[in-house]
């Protein structure tokens, strides 16, 4: 029996398909979910999300949210998630620079936090985008 995975963000449903294995970064560390996993509800932290199906692998950047496993149905409620191949590298690089600059200027605590979140997001995007680039150039 396969896992059925749904990744939902406030904007749209990003991913909906069957999967063999899902690897998620959570508050208690990275966990892998295989079919027939026990019911689980946990919090996702910013990181990389890996979905395996057969030999194919999908890589996503995720900035946090909630994960629910229920009878082989996995739902991920993400604040923001993007597939590695959909990352716009130039834009992410620019966002990273902008966020770094904002953090250096001594701004208010709120602005700092916003910039920090933006920085984490762009770094993650670049990291996953870099990974699939490497893989496709090897094959």
């Amino acid at each position: 029996m396969n896992l059925h995975l749904e990744i939902i963000t406030p904007e749209k449903i990003i991913f909906e398909s069957e999967a063999d294995e899902i690897i998620v970064p959570t508050l208690n560390g990275q966990i892998g979910i295989l079919p027939n996993h026990i019911g689980l509800l946990t919090k996702i932290i910013p990181g990389e999300l890996i979905i395996r199906k057969g030999s194919a692998q999908t890589l996503l950047a995720i900035t946090g949210g909630f994960l629910e496993v229920n009878n082989n149905n996995v739902s991920i409620l993400a604040d923001y998630a993007v597939k590695a191949e959909d990352v716009e590298i130039a834009r992410a690089q620019e966002a990273q620079k902008r966020a770094e600059k904002l953090m250096q200027e001594k701004t208010t605590e709120k602005d700092f936090k916003v910039a920090q979140a933006e920085l984490i997001k762009s770094i993650l995007e670049l990291r996953v985008a870099g990974k699939i680039k490497k893989r496709s150039s090897q094959s």
Binding site: K12, I38, G39, T42, K43, N70, L77
Partner: protein
């Protein structure tokens, strides 16, 4: 003579007005389309979030419930009013403010958070305490706007300054119908079985049967607050979106009516203008004819 040029000027004015209202109508139409799209797109997320939150609240001890869900015994309420910044959207604002005054009359002690300039003016006249005031903006609300609003609400409610938080916004039924709606935000009452229908309850029961053991990492007590605060943000965002869609829908219809009225006036004035012009020509011909006759008799 003077009469004709006056009519001509009025035609010009009506045409200018019709151009402006038509442009506003088209802008509202395209904005409405986007607002509707994004409201539809966020629906699965909201449903899932509500579902998760219910799932978790069903499983924790009633004693352990989060502060968000506790009743507080204070005779002060907080009302969040969501109104447009700009007018020219038919009866929307009037209806909203009527509802606001009714609320204000039925509770003695009300604090306010106002979003949108139109509500701000009215609340300021009431002389009640305004905890916070935000602009609504004229573009699609973005999620970041919600954080400062929710933070204020949190401070007031968790700081036990108010016993409950209500939101007054305009509910979007269709392009033709938007009604002000009062909705209770805090303490959180999740949509129960009456409102969310039997399906949700059935699925919840099924889940409990199928997987009686659910792991919570970290524990439900730690998870719940972050889920609930997220739920709060999402709910607030929905209210903003709903109000925005209503504003644009109302503006679209009222501007459409205004354009049609302007066209009607133009038609009428043109008819009048042509009549006057014809009359003038006829008179001139009569004059010339009369003159020629007089000459011929001599």
């Amino acid at each position: 003579m003077a009469n004709i040029s006056l009519i001509k000027r009025r035609i010009q004015t009506a045409q200018n007005v019709s151009k402006t209202t038509r442009a506003m109508q088209m802008i509202a139409t395209s904005k409405l389309k986007r607002a509707q799209d994004s409201a539809v797109a966020s629906k699965p997320y909201v449903e899932k979030l509500t579902f998760l939150t219910r799932n978790i609240t069903d499983r924790i001890d009633p004693e352990n419930i989060s502060d968000y869900m506790k009743q507080v015994d204070i005779n002060v309420r907080l009302l969040v009013v969501v109104s447009p910044d700009k007018g020219l959207c038919g009866g929307l604002i009037t209806n909203l403010l009527k509802e606001l005054l009714r609320y204000d009359n039925s509770f003695n002690n009300v604090k306010y958070i106002v979003i949108g300039k139109k509500a701000e003016k009215t609340v300021a006249k009431l002389g009640k305490e305004i905890v916070g005031s935000f602009d609504f903006g004229t573009t699609l609300p973005i999620f970041e706007n919600v954080y400062p609003i929710v933070k204020l609400i949190n401070d007031q409610f968790l700081g036990k300054n108010v016993s409950g938080v209500d939101v007054l916004y305009t509910n979007f039924f269709s392009v033709f119908s938007q009604k002000p709606n009062l909705s209770s935000l805090l303490p959180i009452k999740l949509p129960d079985d009456q409102t969310s229908g039997k399906d949700v309850k059935d699925t919840l029961d099924k889940i409990k049967r199928n997987s009686p053991y659910t792991l919570f990492e970290p524990s439900p007590d730690e998870l719940l607050p972050s889920l609930l605060s997220h739920y709060l943000e999402m709910a607030m965002f929905q209210y903003l979106l709903e109000s925005y869609a209503s504003e644009q829908g109302a503006r679209m219809i009222s501007m459409k009516n205004a354009t049609e009225n302007a066209y009607e006036i133009i038609d009428y004035l043109k008819l009048e203008y042509n009549k006057k012009r014809q009359e003038k020509i006829t008179n001139e011909i009569l004059d010339i004819g009369g003159g020629a006759m007089a000459l011929a008799y001599e």
